[in-house]
């Protein structure tokens, strides 16, 4: 048979393999012949709420826009249990589960996988963080400790800020905010992409003058570059550079001229470089290694007159300058070991150092070198059950070795309803400030002959040798996802036992001219017990509408002073947005924070409710969009923020964005 056919047919097989010419001539989709880059790989994907080993809140781009927020930190109010205070206009703090002053030291914060937690004070300098709110893809907040994946300081929560890939950006976008309270913001963003590369440059400046009662006007310039190069379908390089420079005012108006704390400027300066190589064989099999370098060099001098008995006023300056550096190398490997077994493991080395005569009373570099190794396994022994276990082994040069395990199980009761149980341990290393601070003020040279070698004053003097704080956290979660109702929600019952909390008091005897006790840090022998309930829900009740609602309750039991009311017992948030015909959209964000006390602030902060409103209209010209929005903050009127001196007023600003 075959022989007969061969007489008939002369066969010509003209074959093509991967030929770019084909893609160019446009007739055949290129990916029939060549591999496309792997776009949605494990490190880019978010874990579905039903499978996550802990409670994760996601603030997505839609919420970011609808909230009307100008600053990243304000978005965290949309996470159950979170609350935000402004110590001053350019010094906000976001906290969760209390135990916080102006520095929330017990949360890890990452930008695209790189920690921005301050090794000096702990917490994050949110206002000067060189990330534009417009550049954010989403913020994932892990509620509860997650040291098994993120290491020390992932103690009460972990905040992951994920920026938008330049590939998804319009070519040019410019935003202008103009309004009351000195709001003058301008942001220009440019994105370009070709076959193998893409980048975005964002440049902008934020100006405001938040409180009229304190000097806190600020002008902060931010710059941000994110670039990618796809080496081949499986290998990609990415690079980021972020920097901020600026000036903010500090001090107080009600202090007589020439005294300590009169209004003075503080110069901001920080820069970060980060690079990552990703090798993704498949969505579940990925390796990456990243390196980053960070520097921060703020400058602040409070000049005043020393007024001593029998002496004329002597000019004196206290500076709060420091030079901070951080170098970090990290790798992670994700494996799919089988249909029901996935594993991620990795390691990290980090060195953080600060030089500051102001805080350490010498010019020596204070540093903390850290190395860690972690592994995490996700196992589905059968369809309904998921088990997630992880361990982190960590070593740092200040407190030595630590071991943080975590175990969680999820059980799918029936479609759309999942129960979660979790238990985990975490620790927080002392900050360089807590461990090494020595704020000793030497007398001015003119006084030296009279002081017999004594310093003028010693305000902080750490006894050092602090140990890590420890937390044991247990939680029960319930996750609901009912697509036909367009409803999803989650509930988290938590029970956290914190021990060896680093606390401080002004009880260390010192020899100085003007005082005899200094503030010292120690590990408290008293434990802190936190328990409570958090609920959150997302619902699309009708066409174009979306509701994100959260409510949280917490009870803190402790014999330590100033801890019980360090978090509001009740807090709530509700974000409603509605898109209307003719490209009009409306949103309202309501927040309620119960009465509480920011540690070391002058006094208790009464409960407050606040409402932010946003009305926007989009104009289209071809593919160009112009968005005009009016945002009113604190529509319900004035309330106190952080302490009784700071008064939030009702203010409005106009926002214009052009994109093409």
């Amino acid at each position: 048979m075959a022989g007969k056919m061969c007489i008939y047919c002369g066969l010509l097989l003209t074959t093509l393999t991967a030929s770019p010419a084909i893609a160019e001539n446009g007739s055949v989709p290129a990916d029939y012949f060549e591999n496309l880059p792997l776009v949605l790989t494990a490190s880019r994907l978010k874990q579905s709420a039903a499978e996550a080993p802990s409670a994760v809140s996601v603030i997505d781009h839609e919420m970011i826009v609808a909230s009307g927020a100008r600053q990243i930190v304000d978005l965290l109010r949309l996470v159950p249990g979170f609350y935000v205070g402004y110590y001053r206009g350019s010094f906000p703090v976001a906290a969760y589960h209390g135990l916080s002053d102006a520095y929330a030291r017990r949360m890890q914060v990452l930008v695209d996988g790189v920690s921005v937690y301050s090794p000096l004070y702990g917490g994050v300098e949110w206002a000067e963080l060189p990330v534009f709110i417009q550049d954010i893809e989403r913020i994932e907040v892990v509620r509860g400790p997650n040291a098994a994946s993120y290491g020390a300081n992932a103690f009460l929560a972990v905040i992951n800020i994920i920026t938008r890939d330049p590939a998804t950006e319009p070519h040019v976008q410019a935003t202008l905010n103009v309004g009351e309270s000195g709001i003058r913001d301008v942001v220009a963003r440019v994105a370009q992409h070709g076959d193998d590369w893409r980048y975005r440059i964002s440049l902008g400046q934020r100006n405001d003058d938040r409180f009229t009662t304190i000097p806190d006007n600020s002008r902060i310039t931010l710059a941000n570059l994110r670039a990618h190069y796809q080496l081949n379908p499986v290998d990609a390089l990415s690079f980021q550079m972020r920097a901020s420079r600026g000036m903010e005012s500090a001090g107080y108006f009600d202090i007589s001229a020439g005294d300590v704390g009169t209004p003075h400027p503080r110069d901001i300066s920080q820069s970060t470089l980060q690079m990552r190589w990703t090798h993704a064989q498949s969505a579940d099999d990925e390796f990456w290694v990243q390196a980053s370098h960070h520097e921060q060099n703020p400058r602040e001098v409070d000049n005043f007159f020393l007024r001593l008995p029998n002496f004329p006023p002597i000019p004196y300056g206290i500076n709060y300058n420091y030079d901070l550096k951080r170098d970090d190398i990290e790798f992670q490997q994700l494996h799919k070991l089988g249909e029901s077994l996935r594993m991620v493991w990795g390691g990290q080395w980090r060195d953080e150092s600060v030089q500051s005569n102001a805080f350490f009373h010498d010019d020596k570099l204070k540093n903390n070198e850290l190395s860690r190794l972690f592994g995490n396994i996700e196992w589905h022994p059968f369809d309904k059950l998921g088990v997630n276990g992880g361990v982190m082994f960590e070593r740092n040069s200040m407190t030595g070795e630590s071991f943080s395990p975590r175990l969680a199980a999820t059980y799918n009761l029936f479609p759309g309803h999942t129960l979660r149980f979790g238990v985990s341990r975490a620790n927080r290393a002392p900050t360089l400030f807590e461990e090494y601070t020595n704020q000793t003020y030497d007398p001015p040279p003119i006084l030296a002959p009279f002081t017999h070698g004594l310093p003028l004053k010693i305000t902080f003097l750490s006894s050092a040798n602090l140990e890590d704080e420890k937390i044991l956290s247990r939680e029960i979660g319930y996750v609901m996802d009912i697509p036909q109702w367009k409803f999803s929600g989650d509930m988290r019952l938590f029970n956290d036992q914190v021990s060896k909390l680093i606390d401080g008091s002004k009880n260390r005897p010192v020899m100085a001219l003007l005082n005899n006790t200094a503030f010292d840090y120690y590990n408290s022998s008293q434990g802190v017990h936190e328990q409570g309930l958090e609920l959150s829900a997302r619902w699309h009740p009708w066409s174009g509408a979306r509701i994100d609602a959260n409510t949280a309750y917490i009870r803190i039991d402790s014999d330590m002073p100033d801890t019980q009311n360090s978090a509001p017992a009740h807090s709530r948030s509700l974000l409603f947005s509605q898109s209307l015909p003719r490209d009009i959209s409306f949103s309202a964000a309501y927040y309620m924070v119960g009465n509480m006390y920011w540690q070391r602030s002058p006094g208790e902060l009464p409960a407050y409710e606040t409402l932010d409103l946003r009305l926007a209209k989009r104009y289209r010209w071809g593919a160009q969009n112009v968005d005009v929005a009016l945002v009113t903050r604190n529509a319900l009127g004035n309330h106190h923020d952080y302490d009784m001196l700071n008064i939030e007023r009702r203010i409005s600003f106009l926002q214009m964005t052009i994109a093409y």
């Binding site: 048979m1 075959a2 022989g3 056919m5 061969c6 008939y8 047919c9 002369g10 066969l11 010509l12 097989l13 003209t14 074959t15 093509l16 393999t17 030929s19 010419a21 084909i22 893609a23 001539n25 446009g26 007739s27 055949v28 989709p29 290129a30 990916d31 029939y32 012949f33 060549e34 591999n35 496309l36 880059p37 792997l38 776009v39 949605l40 790989t41 494990a42 880019r44 994907l45 978010k46 874990q47 579905s48 709420a49 039903a50 839609e62 893809e137 890939d165 590939a167 998804t168 950006e169 319009p170 070519h171 076959d195 969505a283 579940d284 479609p415 697509p483 898109s579 593919a623 994109a659």
Partner: protein
């Protein structure tokens, strides 16, 4: 592809001696000269078809691994097509098959977004009719240039529950796969695509025919022609595969039937 095709032809009974493989693009290897004068040529890809029409005297040509758009472009630009019988196994799956897949895999999603270029826009009317028959609605966006891709995609996604990617190199290429997959993922809209590579890159589900499946169909056409039986000129792929990206499905919180199950059920449905 060529190896798969050779295997299939061999299985269909074509002897090895008669097959001459000519590799890459328009170049013909020295060994193929006798064959190029033969009566039946199989052209793999658009360039190969163009080459066959230009440089050989083959009276019957079976084209494979190209889309209908690609085929039309090649044939229109070839005066030498006269007197030839051109047959083709196209890459384009029947539009109804895609829509059936959406109904099966994502029954909750009814608003289907599709990106068209000028080359493929002609399918819109037909797609709308087929969609209406299946209780689906189509939103279309036109990609005229790369510069406005993101803004047009964003706008389309605001009116869609699922994005259907149809083979069209002007819309879907290496340059657009990143923005398309990242933007759809951002808003939680799954992508139903047309190739295995697209699925691996991050589409939720893909409907495609493998080279082996296409080769089998080509071999059958060749066999029918050799027997002098009538053959439909342009054929959509008869056999196909459905691939599901489980990782993406899990992340989007979607429970999707297995690819093989979807394929079996799709086969029961009329195209």
């Amino acid at each position: 592809m060529n190896q798969k095709l050779l295997d299939e032809l061999r299985q269909a009974g074509f002897s090895e001696a008669a097959m001459v493989s000519v590799s890459i693009g328009q170049k013909t290897l020295p060994g193929d000269t006798p064959a190029s004068t033969g009566e039946l040529a199989i052209a793999v890809g658009a360039q190969a078809l163009s080459h066959v029409l230009n440089r050989t005297m083959a009276r019957q040509v079976i084209a494979v691994m190209l889309t209908r758009t690609g085929l039309d472009e090649v044939v229109a630009g070839q005066p030498s097509r006269a007197g030839r019988d051109i047959y083709a196994v196209l890459l384009d799956q029947p539009l109804a098959r895609y829509l059936n897949l959406i109904r099966l895999a994502l029954p909750q999603r009814q608003r289907v977004g599709v990106l068209f270029s000028e080359a493929t826009g002609g399918q819109l009317k037909n797609l709308e009719r087929l969609a209406a028959e299946r209780n689906l609605s189509i939103s279309a966006a036109w990609i005229l240039d790369d510069a406005t891709f993101i803004l047009r995609l964003d706008h389309l996604l605001s009116q869609s529950d699922v994005l259907l990617a149809l083979p069209d190199a002007r819309v879907h290429n290496r340059n657009t796969v990143q923005p398309l997959l990242l933007t759809t993922y951002r808003v939680g809209i799954p992508v139903v695509a047309y190739s295995e590579a697209y699925k691996q890159a991050g589409a939720l589900v893909s409907l495609y025919s493998t080279p082996a499946q296409l080769a089998r169909q080509v071999a059958e056409i060749a066999w029918s022609l050799s027997q002098g039986r009538p053959v439909m000129r342009y054929q959509t792929p008869r056999d196909f595969s459905v691939g599901v990206n489980d990782t993406v499905a899990r992340s989007l919180g979607l429970s999707i039937l297995a690819g093989e199950t979807l394929r079996e059920r799709l086969k029961q449905m009329p195209d």
